[in-house]
């Protein structure tokens, strides 16, 4: 059974949890910029947490389904509706065949992830259904979703079928995950970071600027990276570095002195000095940034970064167990 993107929106692509395991071939990780949001949405829709969904940037999307589906969305502050009924983030809802699901432009944040029961059933390429828009493969023919486009959905899993029956009358479930799991857009975002090994290659004032001043998100930001305007981060030495691995979260500084926070579609290697690395649990905050937003950076220890990651995973495990009664 298919879904139809009546309106594709500003920038919509198919994403799952990305294609780990191919970095040595120069293949980007890819996947949802907030993988945690997609995992939560998938679990609520009765899917495996790694099912492919839609990453919707700046909204403007309208969808119809050929059969009944559970949908769950998470992300920024969007006005989402099924027909004329408003749907809040994190609430599983039934969309009947032919009904219209719409997601308008956001009041805050920039991206939303939509899980559809059954998942989006495009072919798996290099271990993932994610669209690699730069290299042009995966997802829907390696490109963005287009207006009027039809795409295949997988079959509803038994757990989703249970939920569809339960929601026949109330349509929208009253339960949802804890608030901050489904809406990480922040008013004054602070990204916590670990100091990069190359931080010694910068003058002292650059490190002070980085940790104390605000930076503005530049319009030429995308899924590869967020370009930042702010105080120039000056290096203490002007040497060419050999390229080595970089990853989502890496903050590299080209000769312009303007830092770039790398995201999931970044190259696998880079030769610019790495001043910092944003911690994994804060990348969802970065995923909501829009041009003009002001952010700050705050240093944490590796120990704290790992403790936060562990806490998030343990909470998700508990949440997964807590969901079980809803699918029985």
């Amino acid at each position: 059974m298919n879904a139809t993107a009546v309106r594709a929106g500003f920038l919509t692509s198919v994403q799952d949890l990305g294609r780990a395991g191919f970095r040595e071939f120069g293949v980007s990780l890819g996947g949802a910029l907030d993988p945690h949001a997609l995992r939560v949405a998938n679990l609520l829709a009765g899917n495996d947490e790694s099912a492919a969904g839609l990453e919707i940037t700046f909204g403007g999307m309208r969808l119809r389904f050929a059969d009944d589906r559970i949908v769950v969305w998470s992300g920024g502050y969007f006005d989402v509706r099924i027909g004329s009924t408003s749907l809040l983030a994190g609430h599983p809802a039934l969309v009947r065949a032919g009904e219209e699901f719409s997601i308008d432009s956001p009041a805050g944040g920039g991206r939303a992830w939509l899980a559809i029961s059954g998942g989006i059933d495009v072919p798996v390429v290099l271990g993932s259904r994610s669209g690699d828009l730069r290299a042009g493969f995966g997802g829907i023919k390696g490109r963005l979703v287009r207006d009027g486009e039809e795409f295949p959905l997988g079959e509803n899993m038994p757990r989703a079928k249970v939920l569809i029956e339960k929601l026949r009358t109330e349509k929208i479930a009253r339960w949802k995950p804890p608030h901050d799991w489904s809406s990480p857009a922040r008013r004054s975002p602070v990204l916590r970071y670990l100091r990069g090994a190359d931080s010694v290659r910068f003058v002292e004032s650059a490190l002070q600027h980085f940790s104390s001043e605000g930076f503005f998100v530049s319009p030429d930001s995308d899924r590869m990276g967020i370009r930042l305007d702010g105080p120039r981060l000056e290096r203490s030495e002007d040497v060419d570095l050999l390229s080595e691995a970089v990853a989502p979260g890496t903050v590299q500084v080209p000769p312009s002195g303007k830092p770039i926070l790398l995201l999931n579609d970044c190259q696998t290697i880079g030769g610019y000095p790495k001043i910092a690395h944003v911690i994994t649990v804060d990348l969802p905050i970065a995923a909501q940034l829009s041009p003009g937003d002001r952010i700050r950076f705050s240093e944490v220890s590796i120990r704290d970064a790992h403790a936060l990651l562990l806490e998030r995973e343990r909470n998700l495990e508990q949440f997964r167990r807590g969901l079980e009664p809803h699918f029985k």
Binding site: A20, E244, A245
Partner: protein
Amino acid sequence: MEITPLGDSALLIRVAENFDDTPTGALNRVLAAKRALEAAQIPGVIELAPAYTTVALFCDPVRAIDAGAPIEDVFGWLEQRIQQALKSVAASKAFGADRGRAGDNFPAYNSIEVPVCYDQEFAFDLDEVARNAGVHLKEVVDLHCGADYRVHCVGFTPGFPFLGGLPRQLATPRRDVPRKEIPAGSVAIGGRQTGIYPIKSPGGWNVIGRTPLQLFDPQKDPPVLLRAGDRVRFRSITREEFERATK
């Protein structure tokens, strides 16, 4: 050997101090380290990415914790296991050994001949490279085809091989203003390296020809023609041969 965090989910292992003096030595150390780390099957490790003098180890800290790593020192726990795995590498005389892992899908590094058409239409910057080297166009082609290359790293775009072994004379600085679009298959020189653009992309290297070979095919396993460690030679082909090969 220096091991530094690359964020909270990766470690960068510097296995060679220096690249320029002994590129082949560095490459062999990197490849041997990667093999040893793969064989060690350290809990929580997701993948290994080699580049020039380093191997990056990407991990899931939560899986490492589940396997016994202390929450307050996950990286210390991993580092211990990395050092242990690489001990044998440091002691082994087999550093120069040019073999893959036993039982590996890729038992040995390949030697691949890459046909290149150096026709003017494809070679946007052949003139610039010749001028910079102070030689005739034909000599550039002869020099480029006369050398043995090895892949030191794959990256930039999927399947892009960074090749060491370029004759010093051909070393040409990158263009001041990168091109917005370089066609797939373009063979180019950037500084002291040569490489091949597998897919259409922007780029700042000096383009000297084009190969009809497909360097990246996501439907294949492995998806790339060239991997770190592989040996490469270029062979000059005519425009007719190029057209035939792309049919």
